[in-house]
Subunit: 148 residues, 2 copies
DNA sequence: TGTTGGATGTTATACTATATCAATTGTGCT
DNA sequence: AGCACAATTGATATAGTATAACATCCAACA
């Protein structure tokens, strides 16, 4: 992500935080910037290390976790629990509503891509699932499928 | 899972291990039995604790991890990385080939179900993905989708 | 100006997972 | 039987991930 895109994204992020009633503090911005520049998922500790490498005032992993929680709550960051990693949303400024996110992860090289045009098939599948009686909270559902 | 089903499953497991060229040792069997009886995903440490509660000779978490690795390698157990948990394959004795597994996880109550009839839509989607140039190992792919 | 709530600092600790080497067990072979 | 070899498990240490709990700081607002 180049400098211009980054600036644009930061502006969007600012608006998104304001809308959600949260503050886009300097550290939150810096954490997001690192993730955006990384262009790949980072663990909280990798992020912390990178932060302390490039920023003047240091940060603790604890704070990074809190900031990531916040950024995730406003849909600027995705948490990939299966990887223990976090990544900046690939299409922050596409006006994506984020009702449905989708990722593909290679279990050999650990490459991750976020699918921007979430397939209608998946949407239909989720709709199907919502009918199943066994789930009490159909709006907080994760689907995992893997080939091997 | 009742006693009769369990015995049947254990027989299947035995065959599966033999076919794969591995031994179905007593501890491996005991670990599998606990998972089968639990009827839900367990963490390695929960499993260890349970093991030491109901079995006469104790086990260490390290061994449990190794045994789970083995059981996963012969498709008797699934590892749910996003949950840091392991679960017995729901349809061990269905003759499932396990080229494609699929789970639904509720992020609120953490309930997990394994889909036995993996949707054709998902299969088609994976087939699509296999064409994408950005993945070097298309046969080791995980798809994650979540609604929120 | 005081105070109040959100954000961050700080320390401690729980939980998850793997590395490493030693001991044991089983299996085939002579 | 006795030996050699490989697979399994024991045992200890340590890395890596995540949260709890309390203190401090700071900005917004009455």
């Amino acid at each position: 992500m180049n400098q211009q895109q980054l600036k644009k994204t930061i502006r969007f992020a600012n608006i998104k935080c304001a809308t959600a009633g949260g503050k886009f503090t300097e550290k939150r911005q810096q954490v997001l910037e690192i993730l955006l520049k990384a262009n790949k998922p980072l663990s909280a500790y990798e992020l912390t290390e990178q932060f302390n490498k490039v920023m003047s005032v240091p940060i603790l992993a604890m704070s990074v976790y809190r900031i990531l929680d916040f950024l995730e709550s406003v849909s600027l960051v995705h948490r990939l629990k299966s990887e223990n990693k976090f990544m900046a949303c690939t299409h922050v400024n596409d006006g994506c509503s984020h009702q449905l996110s989708m990722f593909l992860i290679c279990s050999k090289c650990n490459k991750v891509i976020e699918m921007s045009d979430v397939d209608d098939k998946i949407k239909a599948l989720f709709a199907q699932v919502h009918i199943l009686p066994s789930f009490d909270h159909p709006m907080a559902l994760t689907l995992i499928a893997y080939s091997h």
